[in-house]
């Protein structure tokens, strides 16, 4: 598997730590969260396996290209359109959560519009950038953030305030029956690799998803899920954890750097995760943008018209995002996120289904 696929997986896992996923998981902490997470873990590896396996038959081809070759327009266009919308929503969800977070914790007095405007420029740039450069950005930013992220994780795991009794209390609920929403939210952490529906056109080498790759994904997933779920419980306590809207923000605010340049770890956390959330939004919207570009066949237009059309798509993206950001309350966001997560496994299975059909056709 190309290292970029790992980056995509990791960025999606990490970005969702701040958003609604932990809240959904912790919301069912007295229900079957743990059992569900274990199930989601294997489901996650499975969908990654299926995805990479099917895509490895088409090295260097993106999903739109593949569909164009083997499937009629009546199937491919609606499918791509759905995917475009889903990917747009995925980015939007992260965007809204983060706008909300910044508003609440970093600059409480700032207006929503200003915070929103902070993102517009850079993300638009990321959307129109060449896909190759998007992947490079991902890599460079990862390398830049890695030391900070490791420091943060070590700090949080070795925190003496991390009370293992609370963690154990949470573990005692292991025998509760699983829950679909939790399952969907937990397995959403694994869909990062699905960005290759567009980026696969850059991955010319045939990808392998063998035992080693599966083990790496499994480990990454286990670590992320454990961190996402148990660390807030250990630090904030097990009881009433479901009341907290942003468990991870409060968790990071509970860590203190005694001798650090800054004392409150929350700022390091917010800024690292701002960068990662930004990457996440950028990638999702880049994918969505590419899909829409393909659907409306912008590449066939002449360059002047193409630019106008591109700008129109970008403006629509942002206008919709702004409208929704203003309209949505925190509760709505949570609710819609749940709907979104609930739909996600269906979309994923549908996508894999299409890919399997295409693969069979390509063989015959």
């Amino acid at each position: 598997m190309s290292r970029f696929v790992y980056y995509l997986i990791i960025s999606n896992m990490v970005a969702n730590i701040i958003a609604s996923v932990p809240r959904i998981l912790l919301g069912k902490s007295e229900g079957g969260a743990i059992l569900t997470m274990i199930m989601a873990l294997f489901f996650g590896v499975l969908i990654n396996w299926l995805l990479i396996r099917t895509f490895s038959s088409f090295p260097g081809k993106s999903l739109p290209q593949i569909l164009d070759l083997y499937v009629s327009k009546w199937v491919s266009l609606p499918a791509l359109f759905t995917l475009g919308v889903v990917w747009y929503t995925a980015g939007l969800q992260t965007l809204i959560s983060y706008v909300d977070l910044l508003l609440r914790f970093l600059t409480p007095e700032m207006s929503v519009y200003t915070i929103f405007a902070t993102f517009v420029l850079v993300i638009s740039f990321g959307m129109v950038m060449q896909s190759r450069n998007v992947l490079s950005t991902l890599e460079v930013v990862f390398v830049m953030l890695l030391p900070l992220a490791i420091y943060f994780l070590v700090k949080i795991y070795f925190n003496e305030q991390l009370n293992w009794d609370h963690v154990k209390v949470a573990v005692m609920y292991i025998d509760h029956p699983p829950n679909y929403t939790v399952f969907a939210a937990a397995s959403y952490l694994f869909v990062g690799a699905f960005d290759i529906i567009v980026f696969n056109s850059l991955l010319k080498k045939k990808m392998v998803f063998g035992f080693k790759q599966a083990a790496i994904v499994l480990l990454l997933g286990t670590f992320t899920l454990i961190t996402t779920y148990f660390v807030p419980i250990g630090i904030l306590g097990f009881d009433k954890i479901e009341d907290i809207i942003y468990p991870w923000i409060l968790t990071s605010d509970s860590v203190r750097m005694k001798f650090g340049v800054i004392e409150r770890v929350i700022f390091i956390f917010l800024l690292i995760f701002l960068a990662i959330a930004f990457l996440n939004i950028m990638i999702h919207w880049h994918v969505s943008f590419k899909l829409f570009k393909h659907i409306f066949q912008l590449d066939k237009l002449q360059s002047r018209k193409k630019n106008i059309a591109k700008s129109v798509i970008i403006v629509i993206f942002w206008a919709a995002a702004l409208f929704i950001t203003i309209q949505v309350t925190e509760y709505d966001l949570f609710l819609y996120s749940i709907y979104f997560f609930n739909i996600m496994p269906v979309i994923v299975i549908g996508l894999i289904g299409i890919l399997l059909v295409v693969k069979r056709r390509a063989k015959s």
């Binding site: 970093l106 915070i115 405007a117 902070t118 950005t137 409150r264 701002l274």
Partner: protein, 455 residues
């Protein structure tokens, strides 16, 4: 008419050439006459080495015995340059310091150049403690010599070509043909040939023209005066371009990290180099982000500071009438002026300028409560860390980009700082230098990946 008389008169061709050079005072046309033999020479005395001319052409002409053929002798001289076609080209050769020799129907160009500025200069812009102390010279011959002296490989190719501009300088391309990528070489040559410029004066402006973009902040090729850097890059498969009369060479293509490399790095042990690099990248981050960070923290999120620091900063800002971003902006402009002034002044005066500007004005500004003393620390830190960047073009670009970041942070706070920095990174990644990506991580299989990208 007598045969000999006929030949004493300048041949029409020579006259035609001479006429085009007139009325320059340094045009010399001479006819050497000896029994039976007549040689016409035409040259510009200001660029020709008279002693050599005397020793190589004039003296042998009179000393050579009659039965030997002087024409043959001239032909065999090692100084001969290839005769171009067309009057214009011949004239250009003459202006370069070639002596035009005409014996009967045989015409020859002899390169007897006298180069005033062939001395090798000390490397001023990129000094190192260890490593070679001398840089390039202003003469391209000397430079070619310098490179050949240091790189004994038959695969080292030096191609000279001429640009289509009015000074007709020669330009030399250096590359190792075993290592360079043919596609890249082709790309650079094409770019050079299609240049449409009035005048190229040296490496720096050629670099700008090669850049091909009117508005560009970061350099996409590197200008150096150090032979060791040239070789370092040449062995990495890059192409070096030199312009006659300029002590700088252009290296292309280039990636961002090349600008952060000082040649000193190759002369120290591993851990020392790691430490220096760490300092250098730290300096880079500091000088880009610190001013913006000051504004972002003091004016938007003072919670980031430790309490003691917050109080100190608040205390130092008491009485300062301007908001922080104006304060930072003023001080940055001030420090830029100071840097700029001390660079243009002769070394003796520049020390005074920095003292007056830096020390006296700085203290006075704090005393007058026009700025806070924390701000003075911040600005000096920024100024110092700018100089840690080894290549001055990059440090200019960085100086400019921090204003952008300052603006973005002023508008959007700390989130703006982070996103602005990411935007800058993205801008760099999106850039390319002669078709090669500008900023990318280096891993082992990089070449392979690049191939995959394009294939």
């Amino acid at each position: 008419m007598d045969r000999s008389e006929q030949q004493t008169v300048m041949p029409a061709y020579l006259n035609r050439l001479a006429k085009q050079l007139e009325p320059s005072a340094d045009v010399v046309k001479k006819t050497l006459k000896r029994k039976g033999d007549i040689v016409h020479i035409l040259y510009l005395k200001s660029v020709v080495d008279m002693m050599q001319l005397q020793a190589i052409v004039v003296k042998p002409f009179y000393e050579i015995s009659e039965d030997q053929d002087f024409a043959e002798y001239i032909k065999c001289l090692p100084y001969e340059t290839k005769m171009p076609t067309g009057d214009e080209e011949v004239l250009i050769e003459i202006t370069k310091g070639n002596v035009f020799v005409m014996i009967g129907k045989q015409i020859t160009l002899l390169e007897l150049k006298m180069v005033a500025a062939s001395a090798v200069q000390e490397a001023k812009m990129e000094p190192t403690i260890h490593g070679p102390q001398l840089g390039l010279s202003e003469s391209i011959e000397t430079n070619i010599n310098l490179i050949r002296q240091r790189y004994h490989q038959p695969s080292l190719i030096i191609e000279t070509l001429q640009l289509d501009e009015c000074s007709n300088r020669s330009i030399a391309l250096f590359y190792d043909k075993d290592r360079v990528k043919p596609k890249l070489l082709e790309n650079i040559k094409k770019r050079l040939k299609t240049l449409d410029v009035e005048l190229v004066q040296g490496g720096a402006d050629l670099q700008y023209y090669l850049n091909n973009k009117k508005y560009s902040l970061f350099p996409t090729s590197l200008l150096t005066e150090r032979p060791d850097r040239i070789l370092h890059n040449m062995t990495a498969g890059k192409v070096v371009i030199m312009v006659d009369g300029s002590p700088h060479a252009i290296i292309a293509p280039i990636v961002f990290f090349d600008f952060m490399l000082s040649m000193e790095d190759t002369y120290y042990s591993f851990w020392v180099v790691m430490l220096i690099r760490f300092l250098r990248y730290g300096g880079l981050l500091t000088c880009i982000m610190l001013p913006a960070m000051y504004v972002g923290i003091t004016s938007y999120t003072p919670d980031v500071f430790r309490t003691e620091l917050a109080l100190t900063v608040a205390a130092s800002r008491i009485g300062v009438p301007y908001p922080s971003f104006i304060e930072v902006f003023f001080m940055l402009v001030f420090i830029e002026l100071l840097t700029e002034a001390s660079m243009r002044l002769p070394t003796m005066i520049s020390a005074t300028a920095t003292t007056v500007g830096g020390l006296i004005l700085g203290t006075a500004a704090v005393d007058a409560a026009l700025t806070s003393n924390i701000m003075v620390i911040v600005v000096s830190l920024v100024a110092i860390s700018t100089f840690v960047i080894p290549i001055s073009e990059m440090s200019y670009a960085v100086r400019a980009s921090r204003f952008m970041l300052l603006l973005y942070t002023t508008a959007f706070g700390l989130a703006g700082l982070v996103l602005g920095t990411l935007g800058l990174v993205m801008y760099l990644i999106n850039k390319d230098s002669f078709g090669e990506p500008y900023l990318r991580m280096f891993w082992q299989n990089r070449q392979e990946e690049l191939k995959a990208d394009k294939g």
